[in-house]
Symmetry: D2
Subunit: 414 residues, 4 copies
Amino acid sequence: MSEINKLKILNDPIYGFISITNPLIYDLIQHPYFQRLRRISQMGMSYLVYPGAHHTRFHHALGCMHIMHKTIQVLKFKGVDISAEEENALCIAILLHDIGHGPFSHAMEHSIVENVNHEAISMLFMDSLNETFTGKLTLAIQIFKGNYHRKFMLQLISSQLDMDRMDYLKRDSFYSGVAEGNINSERLIQMFNVQDDLLVIEEKGIYSVEKFLVARRLMYWQAYLHKTSVAAELVLTKILKRAKDLTHQGKEINASEPLQFFLQHKIELGDFDANVLKTFSYLDDFDIISAIKAWQFHDDFVLSELSKMIINRDLPKIRMQSDKVAKDEVVVLQKTIMEKYGITEKEAEYFVFRGKIKNQAYNKTDEPIHILMKDRTVEDVAEASDQLNLKALSKPVTKYYLCFPKVLLEKAAI
Amino acid sequence: MSEINKLKILNDPIYGFISITNPLIYDLIQHPYFQRLRRISQMGMSYLVYPGAHHTRFHHALGCMHIMHKTIQVLKFKGVDISAEEENALCIAILLHDIGHGPFSHAMEHSIVENVNHEAISMLFMDSLNETFTGKLTLAIQIFKGNYHRKFMLQLISSQLDMDRMDYLKRDSFYSGVAEGNINSERLIQMFNVQDDLLVIEEKGIYSVEKFLVARRLMYWQAYLHKTSVAAELVLTKILKRAKDLTHQGKEINASEPLQFFLQHKIELGDFDANVLKTFSYLDDFDIISAIKAWQFHDDFVLSELSKMIINRDLPKIRMQSDKVAKDEVVVLQKTIMEKYGITEKEAEYFVFRGKIKNQAYNKTDEPIHILMKDRTVEDVAEASDQLNLKALSKPVTKYYLCFPKVLLEKAAI
Amino acid sequence: MSEINKLKILNDPIYGFISITNPLIYDLIQHPYFQRLRRISQMGMSYLVYPGAHHTRFHHALGCMHIMHKTIQVLKFKGVDISAEEENALCIAILLHDIGHGPFSHAMEHSIVENVNHEAISMLFMDSLNETFTGKLTLAIQIFKGNYHRKFMLQLISSQLDMDRMDYLKRDSFYSGVAEGNINSERLIQMFNVQDDLLVIEEKGIYSVEKFLVARRLMYWQAYLHKTSVAAELVLTKILKRAKDLTHQGKEINASEPLQFFLQHKIELGDFDANVLKTFSYLDDFDIISAIKAWQFHDDFVLSELSKMIINRDLPKIRMQSDKVAKDEVVVLQKTIMEKYGITEKEAEYFVFRGKIKNQAYNKTDEPIHILMKDRTVEDVAEASDQLNLKALSKPVTKYYLCFPKVLLEKAAI
Amino acid sequence: MSEINKLKILNDPIYGFISITNPLIYDLIQHPYFQRLRRISQMGMSYLVYPGAHHTRFHHALGCMHIMHKTIQVLKFKGVDISAEEENALCIAILLHDIGHGPFSHAMEHSIVENVNHEAISMLFMDSLNETFTGKLTLAIQIFKGNYHRKFMLQLISSQLDMDRMDYLKRDSFYSGVAEGNINSERLIQMFNVQDDLLVIEEKGIYSVEKFLVARRLMYWQAYLHKTSVAAELVLTKILKRAKDLTHQGKEINASEPLQFFLQHKIELGDFDANVLKTFSYLDDFDIISAIKAWQFHDDFVLSELSKMIINRDLPKIRMQSDKVAKDEVVVLQKTIMEKYGITEKEAEYFVFRGKIKNQAYNKTDEPIHILMKDRTVEDVAEASDQLNLKALSKPVTKYYLCFPKVLLEKAAI
């Protein structure tokens, strides 16, 4: 395809259009490693609560690139010097920042792989693509890894107010219909500036930052940590753990080849050679959900019960509270379910369990969001704000949960 | 017109359609007292900052009625007993709650009339309409005045989370384009309930309340108390004061008859007999702006200078700060302007002045927003929320300003 | 104010933000001739049907400038050579294209002035501003008058698919809530190109052109030519005619000075010298509506009756039909009203009258909308479309009306 | 679960909220037959063109139910007598109208099953659910099959302006970002009425009908029949055919059990007994896409080549034209590919083929869209409209295509 044909526009209901303005970016998008993101849902199990939430990491990555492009235009208009090469590298870095996500990452990271986070895998993919594209991603990788001397560039990609967060809040809000998360990304973009190599928001944008932080907090509690989504994700984690356990016990488990591979092997970050990476690249939501569909009919009671919960959206109950759930209560419920289902204690732990979830809208110990005051000084947004509101958002909120099957409803207070 | 022809639908870009489902409401809307609201802008001088903010109190009143209607349907669906008569009264009360607004109320209340607030005038209009419509508004007036035994009905009309606030935040955000104020009124409406004659929001709506309060706070600082709007409103107040002073000095002032009346007389609430009310009903934005247009060419220097500032949007500078503005600074600036313009000290006070503005997103000493917890207890939202965020919103924020003509820019730090 | 402070952004609920990227444009916007557009409603009397339709010609002009800016970026990206000077001139020309509008132009052009259209006055204003700004508008004026050698530039400003139409359809649809008029201006902008000095739309945008033409047709019949708006505008025209007649008969008529001037004099285009233009520049909606408010109480029966119709939205009936209204029917109704009101035949013509309105969504005899086919040939959109649909839109539609007071309802079939 | 807990609201970004107001409807939605629709994409392969188009038939069915509910309220308000039982039946019928869809229906209907359309399967599912729910669906089924005496009820479910079309146009437009398809469903709903047992649109809604028909036409050409989607769907059909052929030849094909079943057997409508229906109910997008992912590595060249095209979005070229593609051209291209790939003539037909697609925005021979004129007569919308526009929309448009692999690009003009 000629270079000119690679300058495309794509429809996006959020930004109207996303332009691909560069043949290299076109080729990256066409690469199977990137196309696979079309088959990885952005919000995991949330569609069980918000039926519209089926958008993908593919779309999110394109959205991030779009607002990166817009932000760069604003910064250049304000006199920030950004070369064509740097611009391109920034767009590539943000386009690929999430390429390491597997299907249902949160669940997978605690089951299929052993504590391998998606950022690490993103770097592996980027290195691999850099070989394929003969070094053209070197600068993007430098920025992404924090090795480039212009620090504000990393902040555009990864900070408490970066392109990633701006796009996912807006996009997740749009597709789920949770209006509370809709941020004014357009205004935020207009307010960006760079001062002393720091990414800053101009003072008159301070209320938009406040709105952004509140929106993020609300999206956590209304969507990402919605108790039904949490329950579904926990069940999914248990399913994958059970499948892995059964595999290791030598039981036959129906699954696609790449999924089989990860069930059979204990894969840590160090194990990710070229072959493992390639196999990982074949994994997506379709492997997981198809397997669970088949596992509904597996003769292992635990695996089939849990699988049916997901497929028929017949989820366990989950109780949220501000204090830790007492061990005693868990034990009592597990005992009850052991009797009811005729299962072992170990198996009962797949059905009755406790844990916690945590969120902090703004982290004061991380690098702060910088506000450029009218007198050209730079302040942490939590200080620059005219009142306690933002300080309040810095306090972490922890919630504890107890999860158990519906059949125990009369036993457990909810 | 036959009764059936009075059942109309009106286009509204916010809610899609507003239905008039009752011939009496149709007749009230047709009444000149209500039609005059078409000529009274909802956001006063804000169009000088947000060029789209030209929507009227007429449209807002219809919007309030629409969401009152929706809210009543939700409450009835949840089993709250509301009779057809009460429903009608609630719709009428909210439709007319702002009918006492004059043009640019905030400025007028401190110039044209003497400390007469619009709520008091709304009651006068409602009493007058009740005569015209032979007592059909009696129940609406009872509710509006807080004399009806079902207290939650007043809360629907006037409380910290009422139909008025829900419509104006959404509408002002829509027309001005200040996205930060866009609230999820639809979700809030779905969450309303009544418990022990208290209007409550169900617990799962708590994040929407938080969003609502934050949106309100942001709209105050980004729109209602935007420094340019504040400056314009202060100039307008000064203009009306000057015109009144000149009138009392016997100078001839070009103005419409109703405006002349209020310039010539000192009208307090007690003076509002049927004739004064009628005259007041002829006043709207057109009287004020037309007068100011003419006053640009008046031979009184103060009046013409100030008038030009509004008409040509050539507004004075305004400096906002967290501490009170020192009297000394004001005096120095006034002296400078006296020399520059060759005016008296008294006249200089029209051009250089200080003051303060204040906002509190949520008032804990007023009646709180009640949250209905899952265990059926009722809590103040500031307590029910899982963190400090809402408590932070209860802290009043005061800002002090200094206003002065552009020609003093080099004299005054800004 | 320093040049850098003139680079502003303005909130616009439609496009998000409108940037002023040029100090000259900032100064033009600040000029009283342009600021007056803040006081001239874009949709005239339509707010009597669509209560949200209070947006102004000021906002529309800024919107046009914004999409001109976007379109120029697209054309430049596609390789069309446009110099910085030309870009600036295009933005200025579109910003000022409607500056000659008076209040309620359609009504005024047939009453206050004698067949002077707003385009002619726009040119006068532009020439005047060019003097003020020492020739900096020369190129903009050349393009606007069709005297510049690059013909596609005029097409951007004035053609069947220009910035003006794109903004007003979208804006009028937004503020009125008539969803049928909402066009996809973003896609249209992406599809613009220039071929052989012709403004063209690329073939894959053909459906967006079709949507645009249909939207225009629907906005005409649902909004611009909505029968109630038409009735209001006709009454307004009659009011102004009556006021002019009475003035010429020596009756005293209360009105602002600039309005008095136009009532007293018969002003044709040739009379527009610097003084008349200045006086015209003082006229806006406030002069007209304030006058009508006062005229409600005038002792001329015709003037006061008609004025009350507008102020209290108590409009006459209007019957639309596809055939011409018979003269006989008009005469009978006029006779009836003469008796009823005790007025002369001449006066009766103010209350009962007939006429016609006409619309054509696409005019095949004007310069067509050009489609750039994949083989680089250029076709008229009505030919390029795959079916009869667009040809159908080229057929003019005429509707005839009969207008009469409500009191005749039982006499006239409606 | 108690009956009261089954009254739920669901977030929908399009309508805000969708309420489940009836325990039976809650139970139907919970049924696995309905939950499977969560795993069937509404727009099939369109996400390869519009990356947001991942919404499901589940969401669409809920949306249809929502607007059915709204429409019934409007009709009842206008005096149409609809009993609670009928209301419920209408909601159930529309909720289930598409329950028979399999994954990628258009492709499947010509490959996996033998000319079994989804409407027929919907009826089978409804009959089966009626057994499960002990006859509570009987009235819904009667209406759906056209056996109920009130004919307008069927028109609400299935006609040229039904709930189905209103929801899918709006929803597909929303998720894909093709703004041209966004219809004003709210206005259409307000305009519905019933006259002589016919579903009609009141005359003042005629422009909204026009907009609806144009939107439908535009969605066909811009989305449903977008050439890239068409190409993808054709490839998918070929893949399934190939897989079936290979299976019948005794080759081993990796696929889920339910998909294996349909590959191994030739299933016509008459074969759909309870078991086949159950097996069919296990099929969804995950079976198809997972299979194609695996088939990329199958040793059959045709199957693996075609599968890679879908997975890596490396689609064949498709040329659209208004005349039939000449057989000769096809033969030449097939020969070329035979040589290039070393495949048989039969195999070449999987890569090079021709066909046609057709659309008609409005069908005058079907039951028309009825307009209720002001004089209470009923007219076909194509006659009632004031011009040729709608007649134009009645003309069917046919386009012919030629599909071939990219490697032949230099051979085939495009």
